[in-house]
């Protein structure tokens, strides 16, 4: 992935290089993020897909400097934003970026909003933290933000507490806070997992519209391949803390060269399929991050695994332009000498 980064430096707004975030627990070292590389282009939506414990959320939290140290530790890596390495910044300088230039929408709006302050109060706080304007101007701005995220009856809603909002409305309020300072990067960590499907569609549409309006970039973290198919332009697939495949949306879905991605796609039932095809699940379960298998972490579940897979972890190689995979047999998928079924 390193090559790709240096090729297109101009339009990259964020570059993450060789990021490793470990947690030191009593039971051993949890390698939550272990060698993540990616770049985010201006105006794009980058999808990060993976199952529970694949390290997708920890990647996001590390970018924002929200890892508790200890037990967490950032072992290595660079996060280049605006020509600066965010990992080298002091906490006071980092605060200029966090919630301002880079902001985040969390999964569960109930636990991420403060229950004892009104929505207005929390909105105004996020504005005043980063902008030198009067309280009155901030109030006006907060009203405009509620308008932008589609909350009606704004003046009354400013005085409401989070518990008076429905799940979808809370997530709208969270989005209003996240975009309060017109960030260049919006990280959405499973923004709709806690919501019903019809509400999920509303919220994702809202995030996409705001992105297009403000020409910002979005990192969309999810386990839902349907959501990825709809909104992402490029996708990073993670497994057990490592990126295993990174490619354009079409390459991921139609031309995948990593067995885990192939397995994920085979595991979901498609609503549009006329005749019922049996699902093809991946056998076994994801490994514990404390006790990772030797070699490729996916090898014990992989039906294509050969001897070398159990000995060392395959490097991430650009197999074709913009298409990276960490698999010893990726080339065989690519030249079709290995069947994808």
């Amino acid at each position: 992935m390193e090559n790709n980064v240096s090729k297109s430096v101009v339009e990259n707004i964020l570059e993450v290089k060789n990021l490793r975030t470990y947690f030191y627990t009593d039971n051993g070292i949890v390698k939550a993020v272990d060698g993540v590389n990616f770049n985010l282009k201006k105006g794009e939506t980058l999808g990060i897909v993976g199952e529970t414990g694949s390290g997708k959320s920890i990647t996001a939290l590390t970018i924002l400097g929200l890892i508790t140290i200890p037990p967490g530790k950032i072992e290595s890596g660079e996060i280049i934003f605006d020509g600066q390495d965010l990992l080298k910044l002091k906490i006071n300088n980092l605060k200029h970026f966090r919630g301002n230039r880079i902001s985040m929408i969390f999964q569960d709006p109930m636990t991420s909003l403060n229950p004892v302050f009104t929505i207005g109060n929390q909105l105004i706080e996020s504005i005043l933290t980063h902008q030198k304007i009067s309280k009155k101007e901030a109030y006006q701005k907060a009203l405009d933000l509620l308008d932008m995220v589609g909350i009606s009856d704004k003046k009354r809603r400013m005085k409401s507490y989070p518990h008076e909002f429905s799940g979808g409305m809370r997530q709208r309020a969270m989005i209003a806070m996240a975009i309060a300072n017109s960030p260049s990067i919006l990280i959405a960590d499973e923004p709709t997992t806690a919501l019903d499907v019809t509400i999920q569609a509303q919220i994702l549409e809202l995030i996409d519209n705001l992105k297009n309006k403000t020409n910002s970039s979005v990192i969309l973290i999810t386990h839902d391949l349907g959501v990825i198919a709809k909104y992402a332009s490029r996708v990073m697939v993670m497994y057990a803390g490592k990126p295993v495949e990174f490619a354009s949306i079409n390459d991921i879905f139609y031309n995948s060269i990593h067995p885990y991605t192939l397995g994920l796609i085979g595991s979901v039932s498609k609503l549009n399929e006329e005749k019922k095809e049996r699902l093809k699940p991946i056998k076994g379960t994801p490994p514990s991050l404390i006790d990772l298998p030797k070699g490729c972490t996916f090898a014990p579940r992989c039906k294509y695994a050969i001897k070398i897979c159990k000995e060392s972890f395959p490097p991430s190689i650009e197999e074709e332009s913009g298409h990276f995979a960490a698999c010893f047999r990726a080339k065989e998928f690519l030249n079709k000498s290995l069947s994808r079924d």
């Binding site: 839902d224 349907g226 709809k230 039932s269 049996r278």
Partner: protein
């Protein structure tokens, strides 16, 4: 409800209201939550009937009512032609053997202090099936059937992953050789790759033991994969019932259309070409549901009549397969 004999389960006009109370010393009634409001459906022997709906639509309450874990306010539940709401507890005991449940959360539904063997053998003890020796053989056999290692009989739930725990839950439901299994969101707590394993296992077991499933979930693509027929619920009401292929290809109720359209399909080219309908607004509170058709405030097709009169569930099918919908303008595109 044409052929009575083939129906393993038949539900008629089932209602469940939960009373709300306010006040600390003197309880005042503050209305009720109409969790399940006059629903009827049937399940044929050997089929899977899917029940979908968003949170708060009453689908889990239906599961509890069918097991008599909750007492309905009105209605009838016929199991093999017998109204199980009218029979005594002692007779109900016999039927409990035949109707089992698989719960949503495999972390909360297994006692952490019991071994896998104890958990799976508890139904045998309660119903006094087999002696101790043959019980162990039976448990080992069942564990093997659901894809667990029979050697793990003495392990505790915390030693297993989510998918394996759900297999234990399935083994517990299976051991009494039931006829009907109620599956209340059995895979929604699991990762995608593990979901597919459990869904395939459930389909295999159905074939092997001739099981009938009531499959409750909020994920329409999962429900479509396992079900023969699907019922769609909205705010305590069934708004549409159809064979699963037909529900997808020819939905009649605007809520079903909106629900189908809201689910993104994991196929980028198709998904980006597709016209999506996004339903406006939130699901209203079941405490004070909208007048007339409960869906009318969110419905793009709503007319004056929709807010005044409640539409009945009518059959729109021309052949033997029922396709029911409760809408004055059923089939009108949105």
């Amino acid at each position: 409800m044409v052929e009575q004999e083939n129906n393993l389960l038949e539900v008629k006009n089932l209602k469940k209201y939960f009373n709300l109370k306010t006040g600390f010393i003197i309880n005042k009634s503050a209305g009720s939550v109409k969790a399940v409001d006059d629903i009827s459906f049937f399940i044929k022997k050997g089929e899977t009937f899917g029940l979908v709906g968003e949170s708060g639509c009453g689908k889990s309450t239906v599961a509890r009512l069918l097991l008599r874990l909750l007492k309905p306010n009105a209605g009838e539940i016929y199991y093999k032609g017998i109204n199980i709401l009218k029979i005594k507890q002692s007779r109900m005991f016999k039927y409990r053997r035949e109707i089992q449940i698989i719960f949503q959360d495999p972390y909360a539904s297994l006692s952490p202090r019991m071994t896998i063997g104890d958990i799976v053998s508890e139904p045998l003890e309660i119903h006094k099936v087999a002696d101790k020796k043959s019980r162990i053989n039976k448990i080992k056999k069942t564990l093997k059937v659901v894809g667990l290692n029979p050697e793990h009989i003495n392990r505790y739930p915390h030693e297993f992953s989510g998918g394996q725990r759900q297999r234990v839950g399935i083994a517990r439901a299976l051991i009494l050789q039931p006829e009907l299994i109620i599956c209340d969101e059995p895979v929604s707590a699991l990762d995608v790759s593990v979901q597919a394993q459990i869904l395939n296992l459930m389909l295999d077991l159905q074939k092997e033991f001739n099981l009938t499933y009531l499959f409750i979930a909020h994920d329409l693509s999962v429900v479509k994969y396992v079900s023969n027929r699907i019922g769609v619920m909205y705010l305590g009401k069934i708004v549409e019932v159809a064979p699963s292929e037909e529900l997808y290809s020819k939905p009649l109720h605007p809520y079903t259309m909106g629900l189908l359209s809201a689910i993104p399909i994991p196929d980028p080219e198709l998904e980006r070409k597709r016209q999506r309908i996004i339903l406006p607004g939130d699901v209203p509170s079941p405490i004070n549901p909208p007048s007339g058709c409960r869906f009318h405030p969110r419905c793009p097709n709503a007319q004056e009549i929709c807010s005044k009169q409640e539409p009945e569930l009518k059959n729109y099918s021309k052949d033997d397969n029922e396709h029911l919908a409760a809408c004055f303008f059923a089939g009108k595109p949105i």
